[in-house]
């Protein structure tokens, strides 16, 4: 590269990097209002900065836990299905299968409070009251064996609680611990004895089915582009079948209402599946709910409260669904559905129509 071109190149680079940044502010945007900052800036630091005033005790926390958390995290925060355990695992971090929980791994209680406050329950984030967050956090501490059952957590005593693994972290040291070894000039030939296979993924066999790509060659050595293609064709065919099925079912329902219900279904789909191929997940699959007995989904482990209600003759019709959806915890106390309910009667009607569109 000539000197002149080099000069041009470096000038261009300086312009690119420094040009806009060194300028005076352009005055774009507007000042954020205090109410707006209060609404969005809810971060809590390990030293307690950012915590709102409030309090909650272990016993209240247990009630909230059963209502809001146990469906995924177990009655005792031990985890359910593939969802994470919140307590336990202390002393397991060097094991072959470490159990990383609030009790065994998380360094700061502020992280627990902050995450519950922002993002839990899964599918209904930012619906917990401040005191409920304190109470649930207190219940986790109790379940972890860190406090007694008469404990109350508040903004005042928050920083007195320390988690067991606070000292278990250190800052990235890869540059020091690894770079000396990983910056050696690499060997290019005769770098060792001939190798043989020591492990193969096919022995474990946990890879999903996938199509193998093949081309056609002039020497005739292969003739298909993709093999097998079954899953691709199935995927292409499925929407059509679903659409036809829906056409039939929707005949007696108000399509606009069903469409509204489908939009409202967004808040349910975290836990529930519906339609062709629906399976039980966190909650039961909800095909064929309307005009049938409650707690009917095959193979779903309903809460005792739910099963009892079904045994006592609860049938899902428009009235019972409406009451349940309005306030699930009130309609069937101590059921495990972690959902606050739908306040708008119109929205409930739409949801019921949507459920009906998937019922025979």
């Amino acid at each position: 590269m000539s000197k002149c071109r080099k000069l041009l190149a470096s000038t261009a680079l300086v312009t690119l990097i420094a040009g806009p940044a060194l300028a005076e502010p352009l005055g774009i945007g507007r000042l954020a209002l205090p109410e707006e900052i209060a609404a969005w800036d809810v971060a809590v630091m390990p030293d307690g900065r950012g915590l709102p005033e409030g309090r909650g005790n272990v016993l209240d926390g247990e009630d909230h836990w059963i209502d809001q958390c146990a469906v995924c995290h177990g009655d005792f925060a031990e985890g359910a299905g593939a969802w994470p355990a919140i307590v336990g695992g202390r002393g397991s971090l060097q094991d072959e299968r470490p159990v990383k929980t609030v009790e065994s791994y998380w360094p700061y209680l502020s992280t627990v409070w902050d995450y519950i406050n922002r993002s839990m329950p899964f599918g209904a984030a930012q619906t917990l009251e401040t005191d409920e967050v304190y109470a649930i956090t207190a219940y986790i501490l109790y379940s972890a064996g860190l406090v007694d059952d008469d404990f109350e957590l508040s903004h005042e005593n928050f920083t007195e609680v320390r988690l067991p693994n606070e000292g278990g972290f250190y800052i990235d040291d890869r540059a020091k611990a690894e770079f000396p070894e990983f910056t050696q000039e690499p060997c290019m030939s005769d770098c060792g004895a001939p190798v043989s296979i020591s492990a193969r993924a096919t022995d474990i066999d946990v890879t999903p089915e996938f199509p193998v790509i093949r081309f056609t060659y002039s020497d005739g050595s292969a003739t298909a582009t993709v093999d097998p293609v079954a899953d691709v064709e199935e995927a292409a065919a499925a929407p059509e079948a679903e659409a036809q099925a829906e056409d039939v079912q929707l005949a007696s329902l108000d399509p606009a209402l069903v469409a509204e219900g489908e939009a409202a279904w967004r808040q349910c789909r975290t836990c529930h599946q519906i339609g062709e191929g629906a399976r039980n997940g966190t909650g039961p699959a909800l095909n064929g709910v309307l005009d049938h007995s409650a707690a009917l989904a095959d193979g779903f482990r309903y809460s005792p409260a739910f099963t009892e209600a079904a045994e006592n003759g609860l049938v899902w019709d428009e009235a019972s669904l409406d009451a349940f959806l309005e306030n699930p915890a009130q309609f069937i106390p101590r059921n495990r559905m972690s959902f606050r309910g739908v306040r708008s009667a119109d929205e409930r009607a739409a949801l019921i129509a949507y459920l009906a569109s998937h019922s025979e």
Partner: protein, 429 residues
């Protein structure tokens, strides 16, 4: 799949069908090496017969106002490994890197990672706040942001957990699954330097805390030095608006650092005097070491590469002879300097040809033009970056990190290719 779709008009038959031809040609070749100029037994009907697409009319210009790939490419899609996560809403899928070439990942098949699902947020409803240790806490609309000076840069985004399933041994059979938590796009947007300059960072502002509009918020702390160095907020990827699943309308770009920091649906940048220690930077995205302690703030993605073809989803379909071995290489510390390829499991290496000019913290394509002798191969690739860092072996990484650190597995990958050309994920010793 290349056969005429059944509902398309058929051309009149004038000779043996294409299938007959292929069967005959296959017999004639008999698996032997056939050099250029080899004779076919019968004329190829694809050439001698008038094909429907050469006679009838194709689709008009408005058939697809926004085009999808032709249906022959239907298999080139993101794929999920269901057992990895409890639920597809807080989950990940994988870029079909085995089926792509060049360096730019199309948005429509670039991997997704959500913590509370991909949300719909319009440009009109979008707001970005900068507050904390600043002279002027500010709120921007999308329109406001488009009035600030923009830059365009290409960077890779790799999930810290890419290849994380391979720590304990060869587990997933396919480059898409072992290495597909990566994409490489051209981003257009505004640097954080420009944005923060609008708000005026106070001297004690040493970190930023970035969070999204979605229910997970996915908050992360980033040192101010990195924020002012090369971070940007992006509105465009590969020349068009971001896809919903990648944070439409605005995401953070943190070049070279783990994908979890690239907050989508960016809502707020808080200027702080320390890290928040959020869930994503304590309980997750920390690397558990054999002594039971964990590394934190392991942000940079170190040099890594993988051969994308041949690989389990992309076997060698032909017999011995000329072939192209190709793959991807990248480094979060800078540009790729060199990629070596071994065909015998790391005993001997040859330097591959870089197919593109290496970019800073961007994916580079490499090629090895090889004449295959039909014998089994242990195919590996080894990336070096401009800092002199050499991609380590699995043994080297495990010796230091053990088997439970989950994240940042940048070890050399081995594909065993058998005499039929089929490839599988193996480990060798």
């Amino acid at each position: 799949m290349t056969d005429t779709p059944s509902d398309a008009p058929k051309a009149p038959s004038r000779g043996p069908s294409r299938r007959d031809f292929l069967r005959t040609a296959s017999l004639a070749a008999g698996g032997a090496v056939v050099g250029a100029g080899a004779k076919a037994a019968t004329p190829d009907p694809l050439i001698t017969e008038v094909q429907p697409y050469a006679s009838f009319l194709g689709e008009g210009v408005d058939a697809t106002p926004y085009g999808m790939p032709i249906h022959f490419e239907d298999h080139v899609v993101r794929r999920n490994v269901e057992w990895l996560t409890a639920d597809p809403i807080s989950s990940i899928n994988f870029t079909p890197i085995h089926a792509l070439d060049g360096t730019i990942t199309p948005q429509g098949c670039a991997f997704e990672r959500h913590h509370s699902g991909a949300i719909e947020l319009s440009k009109d409803e979008y707001r970005l706040m900068i507050n904390g240790l600043v002279e002027r806490p500010l709120v921007f609309t999308f329109g406001d942001l488009m009035r600030l000076p923009r830059e365009t840069r290409v960077h890779f985004c790799e999930c810290a957990a890419n290849s994380g399933m391979e720590w304990g041994g060869a587990q997933l059979n396919g480059a898409q699954f072992t290495h597909g938590m990566i994409h490489n796009m051209e981003y257009t947007g505004v640097t954080l330097r420009t944005l923060l300059n609008e708000a005026g960072v106070k001297p004690e502002g040493s970190w930023i805390y970035v969070e999204g509009h979605d229910a997970s918020s996915n908050g992360r702390s980033i040192p101010m030095e990195k924020a002012l160095d090369d971070c940007m907020i992006a509105f465009f990827a590969n020349g068009e608006a971001l896809r919903m699943e990648h944070g439409y309308p605005v995401r953070l770009v943190v070049p070279g650092w783990e994908g979890n920091l690239w907050v989508k649906w960016l809502r707020r940048i808080g200027v702080m005097d320390g890290p928040v220690q959020s869930r994503e930077e304590t309980s997750k995205y920390t690397d558990l070491m054999p002594d039971g302690r964990a590394r934190k703030w392991t942000w940079a993605m170190h040099a890594k590469s993988v051969v994308t073809s041949p690989s389990p989803q992309m076997p060698i379909g032909h017999g011995p002879g000329p072939m192209v071995i190709t793959g991807l290489a990248w480094s979060g510390l800078g540009k790729i300097a060199r990629v070596d390829v071994s065909l015998d499991g790391g005993v001997n290496w040859q330097t591959a040809r870089l197919g593109t000019e290496p970019g800073d913290k961007a994916v580079t394509r490499f090629y090895l033009d090889h004449v295959w002798d039909g014998q089994p191969m242990f195919v590996q690739s080894r990336a070096m970056d401009e800092t002199g860092y050499v991609q380590p072996t699995k043994e080297q990484l495990r010796a230091i990190r053990g088997l439970n650190s989950i994240y940042h597995n940048n070890a050399i990958q081995t594909w065993y290719v058998n005499e039929n050309g089929d490839a599988e994920n193996v480990e060798v010793s």
